[in-house]
Subunit: 108 residues, 2 copies
DNA sequence: TTATATACTAACCTTTTTGTAAGTATGAGT
DNA sequence: ACTCATACTTACAAAAAGGTTAGTATATAA
């Protein structure tokens, strides 16, 4: 309730910085079912551009929500996995789903 | 879990459209404590510009998350209140707070 | 030697979002 | 007549986000 104070750095703003934008939550959500490679992610989010996907993955890895494992093979093989911090985003995604469904009066 | 499918219009994207961006959730959050006028909102979110505040309030009113009551007085007096749909955003904000706190390891 | 597969980079552009600064309207009070 | 308070508008500018296209690297297989 009033335990959140709107200041330059409040929890709401922190979360917006971490997972705000058009793609980050969609990417995180895909990774909840297990690690995926770039190609797999691209298939599961058809309308994201390769550039954005790589760029967002890098941001997510920088903030430690996702980890990146390079197998050092040729052709390249790189796997993206949710970290524990990344998994903490699941309740957030569930809350978003609930909100959207309630907004569209499809539940409750 | 896999009950969300990432398509052109999925719950995640719907929510992002409704409350995405830098300000909407901050505004909604302020209104949880009761109706506020423009001036009151401006004070509680010090770094928002007047233009953005009005603009976002209009968007929120258009999507029926906030209702606008004009008292028709001079000088103008207009009150903004959360609708039921708007109140449905509270769990979302709580989930964001939990995520941020967990990210910063301030709670478990 | 040539093609293949995959992750990634770089240059460039367009669109969207956000910000700044100035102005409008008007009844009440002085 | 003049000022005040308040919500809002408008024109413009800056910044951030997102998109497109072409290219790089390289072990392996044909």
């Amino acid at each position: 309730m009033s335990s959140i104070h709107i200041t330059a750095r409040c929890p709401i703003r922190t979360t917006l910085e971490l997972v705000g934008g058009k793609w980050k939550l969609l990417i995180l959500f895909q990774l909840f079912n297990g690690p995926l490679r770039l190609t797999g992610l691209k298939k599961s989010i058809p309308d994201i551009s390769e550039k954005m996907l790589i760029q967002e993955l890098k941001t997510l890895a920088d903030s430690e929500l996702v980890s990146r494992k390079n197998f050092g093979e040729v052709p390249p093989r790189v796997e993206y996995t949710l970290t524990e911090k990344g998994k903490a985003a699941m309740p957030l995604i569930e809350a978003m789903r609930d909100f959207a469904l309630r907004y569209e009066r499809k539940m409750e």
